[in-house]
Symmetry: C2
Subunit: 203 residues, 2 copies
């Protein structure tokens, strides 16, 4: 049976990553959204088990020790990780899994699974990203600076990603459609059919 | 400006490769079909400059010496090759180029251009391929055996190809649509936008 594919969606804060992912998920396609574990505190409006599984540092470190994480990384002192249980059972049963994670995790995923697809979502320019972050008007200057610095570092890994989606002013629908196209193309990859040549000769 | 992509379509005799390629070309999309040079004699109905450029052995060997070929290979004593002029001007001006060539040439293309996309077209099974070849009723037993042997060898390179299209009994339309999807996905590859990060930071 054809396995599912792991899709990693990365992009700096302000790139519209969550909006695109939510729009994709609302289409009812063959995608499972992988909910990450984190040790950071929930923000206002975040729901445990939906946005993240909020767990303690001890629980996370025990999970690492047990090999429970497909990938994990630490940002500003807090752990973030994808439990193997959010991924392997879906892939094995032919469902695509979408991870919304950052560059470090994306590189770990690609290393474990060469069929994984890394997608980077970006606004047209850095100044546009800055304007979006400032436009929210909800964050301190220090936080904005930190996010911009991280965005700068992320974009330097552009060429390690497979695909690039440009999220311009009203790009969400276009990006979702493009993700669907990428997912369909991916379903024709030879890597999905390792047994085909044997089957070809024996039938 | 975004460059075009090189698509290689390979598949054994009887896979329906030419039918799929002709149907793709008839859509009037952004594809140029690269006409190969060959030293073999034209078959009944083949038109010089359309099916192949039929040239002499001396011309072909001079071309090799001049570096005129993007890829070339020899089968049963005859040369086949893609002139650089059938490819580079199109790619540079943003047009996709489709090559209908065999495994040796496909490997040369991928080596020169890591953004090239290799697609293998196959019927569901070897016995189905054999039935199709025999069903034509136009070829000698010896020729059929030779083609089947070559098909066998080609399929062993399955995993060196990027994509696999299954051409079952009435699969031509499906294969053309799948090629279009693959081509669209390809247009979102980061490799097409090497200058994006610089542009991102400077605008």
């Amino acid at each position: 049976m054809k396995k599912g594919t792991v899709f990693v969606l990365s992009g700096p804060a302000g790139s519209g990553k969550s909006t695109v992912r939510e729009a994709l998920m609302s289409r009812g396609l063959n995608f499972h959204y992988s909910v990450s574990d984190t040790t950071r505190k929930p923000r206002a409006g975040e729901v445990n088990g939906v946005d993240y599984n909020f767990i303690t540092r001890e629980e996370f470190e025990e999970g690492i020790a047990r090999g429970d994480y497909y990938e994990h990384a630490k940002y500003t002192g807090e752990y973030y990780g994808t439990p193997v249980s959010q991924l392997e059972p879906y892939i094995e049963s032919g469902v695509n899994v979408i991870l919304e994670i950052e560059v470090d995790g994306a590189m770990q995923v690609k290393k474990r699974d060469k069929n994984a697809v890394l997608v980077m979502l970006l606004p047209p320019s850095f100044s546009c990203l800055e304007a979006r972050l400032r436009g929210r008007g909800t964050e301190t200057e220090e936080k904005i600076r930190r996010r911009l610095a991280r965005a700068r570092a992320e974009v330097l890994h552009f060429d390690k990603y497979d695909y690039f989606l440009l999220n311009d002013d009203d790009g969400v629908e276009a990006c979702v459609r493009q993700l669907e196209i990428i997912a369909e193309a991916q379903s024709y990859r030879t890597g999905n059919y390792p047994d085909f040549p044997t089957k070809f000769f024996n039938t």
